[in-house]
């Protein structure tokens, strides 16, 4: 294990530090709250000569992602950061980055989408981009955001997959709150990510290549089938990257975190910062002799549905907490993943869905308590009051 520094920093600061340590070749970005702070700090590193990165300041996020695509195809290690509308403006480019199999790393500081305009946290931005062919890693706190950012380079750039990766953390709740965490040594991070390996670099003029050919009905489906195959390899790459990361950091990561799940009868499934609050409440229920547990997805794309199904199948009742509404859909986006994960099993847990925390609405221990109490009731009686509802909202 390498030496580490204990620091008190915000989530944004921790990601900027990870990017400084990785020292990518190119970055293109456009400011948007709450991600602005990451690139603001990073551009200081550029100006002060702390990194050798070619920093491209562009006029929009559409241009930011376009420039990242160009730089990545040219043969560089590339990163950017954004939030909310910024990610929405990158939309068409996201598919191009993944379709070209470019290992761009992007920090996504989760923020609600307009309208009504709002700058605070929910997961509607990341969920909106969940099917764009990128890898998504979600992070509970500043430490995880830092650790996932470093691992994302190694995962994305793995020669077996070569896919862009998005690292999510909760806007303001994590991005702007100061926490105690540990930084790795610069050398440890650089050795861990290693030298960037190029694949079909445009700037290798001795081996000319073309990106972006027109692929019509004769081959398009074959390319999409190939993409699905590559996606199926990602979980192995993520686990390898995690075990190597544990060697240098002592911190253990998997496809998801299973918290007191082994003998649990009731459980919560929740992403990002709300998992921290929920784990405290799970502990309090355990102290009262109630077998509660929690599953916090980390790798959300590709979704490890077989492993998640296996981890949840023995529970009696599970509530999936969604910090995004899939407007007009049956249930929230996380719920639909969990429901399909447990669907092959019989018996399987009764599933409830609660939509919470939209636009930065607080998620408090009381919310977790009432959900767990309801689950205990469902587990005991088999009776369900309602399968889906919004919590923390005024009637």
């Amino acid at each position: 294990m390498s030496a580490s520094r204990v620091v008190a920093v915000t989530g944004n600061e921790s990601v900027a530090e990870a990017l400084r340590q990785v020292n990518p070749d190119v970055s293109a970005a456009y400011p948007i709250t709450p991600a602005t702070d990451i690139m603001q700090r990073f551009t200081h590193y550029v100006s002060n000569g702390k990194v050798k990165t070619e920093m491209i300041l562009v006029e929009s996020e559409h241009s930011a992602m376009s420039a990242c695509i160009g730089a990545s195809a040219a043969g560089g290690r590339v990163m950017t950061a954004t939030s909310s509308q910024g990610l929405a403006l990158m939309w068409e480019e996201l598919f191009i980055a993944s379709g070209y199999r470019l290992p761009i790393v992007m920090s996504l500081v989760n923020r609600a989408l307009s309208a009504p305009i709002n700058i605070h946290c929910d997961h509607s931005d990341g969920m909106g981009a969940r099917d764009c062919g990128w890898i998504q890693l979600w992070s509970e706190n500043a430490q995880e955001a830092y650790d996932n950012t470093i691992q994302a380079f190694r995962i994305a750039e793995n020669m077996d997959i070569r896919l862009p990766a998005m690292v999510c953390m909760d806007g303001f709740i994590i991005s702007h709150s100061i926490e105690r965490m540990e930084y790795l040594d610069d050398d440890a991070v650089r050795n861990y990510v290693g030298d960037f390996k190029q694949l079909y670099p445009l700037l290798d003029i001795a081996h000319p290549v073309s990106y972006g050919p027109l692929i019509l009905s004769d081959y398009y489906m074959e390319y999409k089938r190939a993409h699905a195959e590559v996606m199926s390899k990602v979980k192995h790459v993520v686990l390898d990257a995690a075990s190597e990361f544990e060697r240098i950091s002592g911190r253990k990561y998997g496809l998801f975190e299973d918290y007191r799940l082994d003998d649990a009868e009731i459980g919560l499934v929740v992403l990002n910062s709300a998992a921290g609050t929920s784990k405290d409440v799970v502990d309090a229920f355990r102290d009262r002799g109630i077998k509660a547990g929690l599953l916090k997805p980390r790798l959300f794309r590709p979704f490890p549905y077989e492993e998640v199904g296996e981890a949840l199948k023995h529970l009696k009742a599970v509530c999936v907490l969604d910090r995004a509404d899939a407007s007009g859909a049956s249930y929230g986006p996380l719920f639909m993943e969990i429901a399909s994960s447990v669907s092959p099993y019989s018996p399987r847990p009764v599933l409830l869905n609660k939509i919470y925390g939209l636009g930065g609405r607080d998620y408090l221990p009381g919310h977790a308590e009432s959900v767990l109490s309801e689950l205990a009731e469902v587990a005991a009686t088999g009776k369900v009051r309602t399968f889906k509802e919004y919590i923390g909202v005024r009637e």
């Binding site: 379709g99 199999r101 290549v209 990106y211 081959y219």
Partner: protein, 97 residues
Amino acid sequence: MKPRGWKELNPGAVITEAGSARKFKTGSWRSFKPVWIEENCIQCMMCWIYCPDMAITAKDGKRGEFNYYFCKGCGICALECPGKKGKKAIVMEEEGQ
């Protein structure tokens, strides 16, 4: 050539063969066709410079016939052609006339 299956594709649809566009017939899109009137041609090569494809053949610094395999009939060459004494050396004719 037998079409390839999904396991045989290059990642990202990247084409690693230089100049492979030569194999791709794009002239079939054309609805207007440029016609070269050699007697009005001053061999300025403007058409060769402006043609967005490889549809104007050139040899020893002089243009030859159109290569209609690639010509899309965009009309740029006809527009740019200065011709001789106000007479164009390229005119566009509707296909199938």
